[in-house]
């Protein structure tokens, strides 16, 4: 045997005691992470990813009990350590970075003191600890550590906070760094930067990584080996390359197929989904846990739990039919939606010079600046941009929840539209509806589903009694919900089912345009695919128009006919999805595209955005993007508003760089 693994988990079994009964959550998980190796753990929510991570820290909640197996770190048995050994272990050998940096830092202690504390615990005197803290912050590419050290955590952006957390985690030079969804709460551009940073620091410090994520693209980029967790069992493990290109477990195959392929579009066919739901924690099954959702399952699978089959090159799969896994049948092919109606001059919705200014502590904060936008009937317009770019503000203005500044003009079907929902007539209110991001917050948890959808039917269509009931059945049917959900409450439904209810409510009054504000970002990938399919299906059958907001470019690409790119409340680029993706792009779009973690289709050009989105209270002069632009020309960008260029009809780019020049630059960088 070679050098001991940094982390070696062998046949780990763990149960949670819930209401007096023990529920088995982890059923014999084994894997090892070698020195300087990066191991990814993927799976849907509730599969036990975080539990495994916490076990490696021995930070388990009080009702958890390890019922079997062993956890060895650098050859020492973690489960047999005493409290004082454990404390030493946590300060020197292992560190953890959590999902939300805002809650990982103490809000009332200055950043510098928090980072220095790590060194003070190691026994360094104050002055030296501070110097080391400064050096550490420099290592995580914070350009002005002295300034950052005097700040409190809430004064830093999310990306900056996560760097500080990473600096603290790496400060004791640990053998093992556990990252639990470290970039999930961050914007794609910031995520890309943080991932670059982690990759660079890993080689610099020689640290092993246990990387937990639900995002397959991120894991593909960060990890050499990957384990796929399902219902507390490792169903497949191997080299990342091998697992993702030649998956041998039907669950892995299903997960990979759920993600919209880079550049795939709705008219090319529906997304694959995984039917059913994972079993609840503590469920007992005789055979393979995945058999109920598996299209390949045979009787044998239901009778006997499959062992881990070695399929070559350290790649193994817990499936009897691993030979045929990649031939997992796809659901019956359905025709995708036809491409949206091309703009033919007639706009359903028109925004002219719409601005929205907020008053904040005496400052004027520009949420939207001079936005001109037309949405044609039947099309899906994707809206992309980092957080704070004004996507949701635009949606709220359209919905009448926020009143635009005077001077702007909203039109619906050629008629002027009141800025406040209260000033709109019945037809206009019915016509414009929304599906919110988080169905947990958009459905009143004290109301039954019947009340939630039924109230919208009554209010928007004026239906009562039998007619209302009839309409309810139509709606639940069109979002593929069983009628029995009507009598349940939101808390009894899974996230995907709740989002279907929210969609049914939005469609209650036969809307003309539905705003979808990140409708799938709170959901697992397999559920996301089903919701996207539903939205496409509804668009085809009802001819509805979408304004689709998302930070996931793959999803936007799949669903949208046209795409608009916002930055600091300004429209920087708009065009058909095809044109925006193919280029020439605005430099900002280019940066967004290259920041997206890509699962299928190889590496893209890697240009990175430096720094952070400037404050909307004090936007940069000239082109607002010039402070971060990777293709910054010079004074002209700083001093003058850029013109609107038109590479082809309907495709607009707001940039000083001439279109041909942009095209040439971006072709050169393409690998």
């Amino acid at each position: 045997m070679n050098a001991p693994a940094v982390l070696e988990i062998d046949d780990l079994r763990l149960a949670f005691r819930v209401r007096g009964t023990e529920r088995q959550a982890i059923h014999g998980v084994s894997f090892r992470i070698g020195k300087e190796e990066s191991f990814g753990l993927v799976g849907e929510s509730g599969c036990g990813k975080s539990t495994v991570a916490l076990t490696a820290m021995r930070y388990l909640p009080g009702n958890a009990r390890i019922t079997g197996g062993s956890v060895r770190v650098t050859g020492r048995d973690l489960l047999k350590m005493s409290e004082s050994e454990l404390r030493r272990y946590r300060t020197s050998t292992v560190s953890m970075v959590y999902q939300n940096p805002g809650t990982a830092l103490n809000p009332s202690i200055r950043v510098g003191d928090q980072v220095a504390e790590v060194f003070r615990i190691a026994g360094l005197p104050r002055a030296e600890a501070e110097d080391r803290a400064r050096a550490m912050l420099q290592k995580v590419r914070i350009s002005d550590p002295g300034y950052v050290m005097r700040r409190y955590p809430h004064q830093l952006s999310g990306g900056m906070q996560q760097r500080v957390v990473i600096a603290m985690a790496l400060a004791p030079n640990p053998e093992l760094l556990i990252l639990d969804e470290p970039t999930t709460a961050l914007d794609a551009t910031v995520e890309a930067e943080v991932l670059d940073l982690i990759a660079a620091l890993r080689t610099e410090f020689g640290t092993s990584l246990l990387y937990i994520s639900h995002n397959l693209g991120v894991v593909a980029r960060m990890c050499e080996r990957v384990g796929v967790l399902y219902a507390g069992r490792l169903v497949e493990v191997g080299e990342t390359e091998a697992v993702f290109s030649d998956p041998r477990h039907p669950y892995t195959v299903g997960l990979l197929r759920c993600v919209p392929r880079w550049g795939s579009r709705k008219d090319e066919g529906v997304l694959d989904t995984i039917p059913g739901l994972p079993p609840p924690i503590g469920a007992q099954t005789a055979g393979c846990v995945y058999a109920d959702r598996c299209a390949l399952a045979v009787d044998h699978c239901r009778q006997e739990p499959p062992p881990l089959f070695e399929v070559g090159g350290g790649h193994s799969s817990r499936c009897f039919r691993h030979e045929e896994a990649s031939r997992l049948p796809r659901p019956a092919a359905q025709p995708g939606a036809a491409a949206g109606v091309a703009a033919n001059g007639h706009a359903l919705i028109q925004l002219q010079a719409v601005s929205k200014t907020f008053q904040q502590d005496g400052h004027r904060v520009q949420g939207l600046v001079d936005v001109d936008l037309q949405i044609a009937p039947g099309e899906a317009l994707g809206l992309v941009g980092e957080s704070g770019s004004g996507k949701s503000t635009l949606a709220k203005v359209l919905l009448g929840l926020l009143e635009p500044d005077s001077g702007g003009h909203l039109e619906y079907e050629g008629r002027s539209l009141a800025g406040q929902v209260g000033g709109r007539d019945e037809e206009e209110v019915r016509a414009i509806q929304i599906v919110f991001q988080n169905p947990g917050a958009s459905l009143n948890r004290r109301h039954s589903i019947r009340q939630i959808i039924g109230r919208a039917v009554t209010k928007l269509l004026g239906l009562h009694g039998r007619e209302r009931e009839q309409r309810l059945f139509e709606l639940t049917g069109s979002v593929r919900l069983d009628r029995s959900v009507l009598d349940s409450r939101p808390e009894q439904l899974s996230g995907g089912l709740k989002q279907r209810v929210a969609i049914a409510r939005a469609f209650a009054g036969d809307p003309r345009i539905v705003v979808c504000d990140e409708p799938t970002s709170a959901l697992d990938v397999s559920v996301q695919a089903a919701i996207l399919n539903l939205l496409v299906d509804l668009q085809r059958s009802k001819g509805v128009t979408y304004l689709f907001i998302s930070h996931d470019l793959g999803v936007v690409r799949y669903l949208s006919d046209r795409i608009a790119v916002l930055y600091l409340g300004r429209l920087l680029e708009i065009g058909t999805a095809e044109a925006v993706f193919k280029g020439p792009h605005h430099p900002y779009t280019e940066a967004l595209l290259s920041a997206a973690p890509v699962l299928h289709g190889g590496a893209k050009t890697r240009i990175r955005l430096e720094g952070e989105v400037p404050s909307a209270a004090d936007p940069p002069s000239g082109c607002v993007f010039h402070t971060r632009c990777p293709r910054y020309l010079g004074d002209i960008c700083r001093d003058q508003e850029p013109p609107l260029n038109q590479p082809e009809p309907g495709h607009l780019i707001r940039c000083h760089i001439p279109v041909d020049e942009l095209r040439r630059l971006q072709l050169v960088d393409e690998p």
Binding site: R424, V429, F436, S484, S488, R505
Partner: protein, 291 residues
Amino acid sequence: MNVAAVPVERVAEQRTTVRRERIRLLLRSPTFIAGAVIVGTWVVCAIGGTHLTPYDPFATDPLNRLRPPSARHLFGTDQLGRDVLSRVVAGARGILIVAPLATLLGTVAGTALGLVTGYFRGVVDEVLMRLVDAFRALPVVIVGMLGLVALGPSTVTVILVIGIVFTPIVARPVRAAVLTQRGQEYVQAARLRRERAPYILFVELLPNVLAPVLVEFTVRLGYAIFATATLSFLGFGIQPPAPDWGLTIFEHYGFISGGYWWPVLFPALAIASLVVGVNLVSDGTSQALER
């Protein structure tokens, strides 16, 4: 396609268990049990009234005035020779009608006020909340006395006065809860159907702020008992010859220096035990609700 059938069935069973879990937590909480036993005892006394008392609480006995506790009169007799035990038991009824009704009034009015100010914000909120702050700065008893002087002492006035004094106190936490709820997307969804404000307030928001309202009710109930007894003690509450605890203490505290402690101690203990009991119930409930 029947995608939903399975999950719905499964979670439906979870719903009842969540509720049962709450009740089970409550029944396993020693705090709640102890409080419930104390309060329950007094509720029995209030309902039973004179059927439970060894003597008629109003029957005077001039020959046996201020007798110390004995086998015949366990708590002794008062200045008119009435049995203290009987008066303490019978006295529960008055306070257990006045205090809960006053609390209910304060909670209902305070919840409405909190909903309105929290939802509308702006000028309405500013003005009402400054009034609330000013009102809260005045001592409860002073406000109560002024009100009772103006309206004349009676049971109804006591209920009204305590209820009004509690209104702004209850409004505060309800408003805070509404502030966190009003930004939620379900409220925006309601606005997008052009729901009227009363619907949003009472149908959408109210059910979601009921937990703090319930906790506030139980906390206020303890204070209401205390306030009722205080006002009676000061002579502004329940009027003689009712066997009210506060009133009894008022009638006899002058005798303490003469060594006649029993007509004061036992009603005082009754007040204390009821307040403690209500507070224990309140703690137990809020713990169970917070889980």
